[in-house]
Amino acid sequence: MTSNTPILKAQAIQKSFDGNTILNGVDVVLEKGEIIVLIGPSGGGKSTLLQCINCLVIPDDGQIELEQQPIDFSNKQDLYRLRQQVGMIFQEFNLFDHLTALDNITIALRKVKKLDRNTAEKRARLELEQVGLGEKGDLYPAQLSGGQKQRVAIARALAMDPKILLLDEPTSALDPDLIGEVISVIKNLAAKGMTMIMATHQISLISTLADHILFMENGQIVESGTPKELLAKGNVNKTQGFCDRLNELATGEQ
């Protein structure tokens, strides 16, 4: 977090659906190795923001720069190139249902990175081992548990050597007893210095991983700061209140 040229800069991002403003001038600046955590009430626009950052949803207005290169939203090649370099993890995993865990990883390596089958499979096996699924390569998504599916999804994204990983509530669709395995994979990534933006309500991820917290509400970032600043004892703010409630939920569950 010492380098001061950001790897990603999203400025004044604007998005509406059917006349409803969902993102209203959102700025995000991400430095290499930094982990930004997005929190805030449901419907606040976290998912939409993440999808705008890799242009799965094209912003109505605003700018996105990846390593100082501005993205031209109307240029398909620009969008494809951006998405290759920015990995994304979805709440619902979005594994390809007709492909084995291994082929879920090799398909993009072969079709996008144009690797030959052997090289792609070698890489895919390596990534599966990294997430503890070395033995599961031949299973189809329908044969995997939720936690395993999400780990395959992470392996699939990492195999593309992304510069940034976007995670949209990666543990929200999981049974409580499967959350742990995914959290530990994400913590591993953080330890290796992966640059990430993550929307999550998982209190253990917020408090231990965040370098920076953004609190989103009604399409805007209403609070922003390091966990130290926002979560210091005695502070009264939205982030603090939100995290307190998450904490209550977390302890209430046990």
Binding site: Q51, R83, F93, N94, F96, D97, I107, A108, A157
Partner: protein, 221 residues
Amino acid sequence: MDFSPFYQELFSSLNRGLLMSVALIVPSAIGGVLIGITAGCLRAYGNRAVRLLGNGYAAVFRGTPLVVQLFVLYFGLPNLGIYFSPYAAAVTGFILCSGAYQSEYIRGALLSIKRGQYAGAHALGLTHFQTIFWIIIPQAVRRAIHGCGNEIIYLIKYSSLAYIVTCLELTGEGKTVATEYFRFTEVFIIIGLYYLALVTCASFLLKIIEKRLYIPGFGHK
């Protein structure tokens, strides 16, 4: 064992007809599936004009009797200077009719694939075309396969309409013999058994294809 002249003539006619039926059904089934996939994709993904065109095609060929379509192809088009042999007219009619039905199954299957599959593929940098070709179509085909198989079974039976354009297949050949000897009941029961055998073979082949395409999460083994 010796057959009477009636049976000798009947079976040699029916066997000839069977060959013609198979020669009609196989290209029509394959052509129908290919047209169905193409038209189904255009109807699901095309722009307004293309969608309109595809929907119009499906509406016309599903909305009019096959008999009428065959008549127009064989007796109507020569007025425009387009001539088909009986065989070509029959196969063309079957392909177009079957393709319209197949496109309905394919389109439905394509539209049933969840948004997440597109998002997952796009997020990895696959182009829209790559996504449809490598991710969506392979899944849609597996979802459509029962409907498509069913349509092929229908095709086997409506192939008997080829006699309309004077292309003599099983039914046509059998009818000729039946008229000659005036023994309709026996002849048509035997023709029925021939179709039953054809459909049984086709079902068996379809089962094999289904098994080969089987993937956990897409229907039962």
